[in-house]
């Protein structure tokens, strides 16, 4: 029992050692210079480059999780919209004859995935970050007011 736990610990230590050694060859998307800039601003002093890369990897993982959560919101919304459109088409087909088949090559190209503030705020809310933005910005304080109240 003790030998197995000891072997397990040895495996964990060796895995961690290999991981830290592999960080020297791994290049995170967040550059080392940027991380070192924020390290110096925060008072985190460590000459070991592996820890700098570890911070970069942790930040990259966090952003990836947030972005993938936001992507799930978009994809679920698109799936629901697609499902609803299919249901409506079925109902219309039952009511009247089917329209002529259109050229399938001319599909709507509005299927690009775009990161929006709405999806991002939902994803960040799950991670404990409250992100709110203005719905719109007016050019002047009188924009949107009635002409009669403007004259006043």
């Amino acid at each position: 029992m003790n030998s197995s736990s000891g072997e397990g610990r040895h495996d964990d230590d060796s895995a961690l050692t290999e991981f830290l050694a592999s960080l020297m060859d791994y290049t995170p998307t967040i550059p080392d210079e940027l991380v070192e800039h924020y390290l110096s601003r925060s008072g985190f002093h460590c000459p070991d480059l592996r820890l700098t890369r570890l911070v970069a990897v942790a930040a990259q993982k966090f952003i990836s999780e947030v972005a993938s959560d936001a992507l799930q919101y978009v994809q679920s919304f698109q799936f629901l919209a697609f499902f609803c459109s299919i249901e409506l088409r079925i109902m219309h087909c039952k009511a009247r004859p089917a329209p002529p088949v259109k050229d399938k090559s001319k599909q709507p190209k509005d299927k690009r995935l775009v990161l929006t503030m709405e999806d991002l705020s939902k994803a960040l809310h799950k991670h404990g970050v409250n992100l709110k933005h203005q719905e719109y910005f007016a050019d002047s304080p009188l924009t949107g007011m009635d002409p009669s109240s403007r004259e006043e």
Partner: protein
């Protein structure tokens, strides 16, 4: 003088800091790997800001943990504890066990799995490193010298040599250089100390021309000899 030309609205907005721009590019690359084709500018800015704040929060927490343990240099254990603190709102495996070993934390395992699964995408361009602004001068102990005063500890950096050469209270004698320095000070001109070099006492005259932007005074004043006579002061 003509009034300054009206700037366009685009020029009025200040440029974002370099770090913010770099983080924006890095976050855009991460979003591309996730599957996004585009991003709203406001959303990208917000996510880049969140990334920068995450790094700062993580490193501040790590530095604080190191300081609370009486260390100035942080290590892996401090960083793992800081990552666990930031992950507490979402939770992680083993969070309920107060005696959990830090080096076998589930957060480290998740990071290892992430590095193995994600494709390596480096930053597109090399970034120029900030030059070292201040050099830490060696301490008295490193130089093998004794501090000039008893209350000064040996682990402090050495005093500048120019300061040590200047006359102090209780010390007699002086070089001709020091007397010249005193003469310069009486004239109201301050010397600039650049390490060991001193500015020469006799320097070339510098001429200035003052022009006023207002309509009332159109006189052009020439400052040169008069300034030197008054010891550098001008009306």
């Amino acid at each position: 003088m003509e009034p300054p030309a009206k700037h366009k609205e685009e020029d009025r907005s200040p440029r974002p800091p370099f770090a913010a721009t770099v983080s924006r590019v890095a976050v855009a690359q991460i979003c591309l790997t996730i599957g996004y084709a585009a991003a709203e500018p406001a959303a990208l800015r917000a996510l880049a800001d969140v990334a920068a704040r995450f790094v700062q929060a993580l490193t501040r927490s790590g530095a604080s943990i190191a300081a609370s343990n009486g260390r100035t240099d942080a290590n892996l254990l401090d960083l793992v504890r800081a990552m666990e603190d930031l992950s507490l709102p979402l939770g992680f495996a083993g969070a309920s066990d107060p005696t959990r070993p830090l080096l076998r934390s589930s957060i480290l395992r998740e990071l290892m799995a992430f590095v193995r699964s994600v494709e390596e995408i480096p930053f597109p361009r090399p970034i120029r490193r900030e030059s070292v602004r201040t050099r830490v001068s060696p301490s008295f102990a490193q130089m093998g010298r004794e501090p000039p005063f008893r209350h000064v500890p040996r682990w402090l950096p050495c005093f500048p040599e120019s300061w040590e050469r200047s006359p102090r209270e209780g010390e007699g004698g002086g070089d001709g250089r020091e007397a010249e320095g005193n003469r310069e000070r009486t004239k109201g001109v301050s010397l600039l100390w650049e390490g060991e070099r001193l500015l020469p006492a006799e320097r070339e005259r510098v001429w200035f021309r003052l022009e006023y932007c207002g309509r009332e005074r159109k006189k052009k004043k020439r400052v040169g000899e008069k300034a030197e006579e008054r010891g550098g002061k001008r009306r």
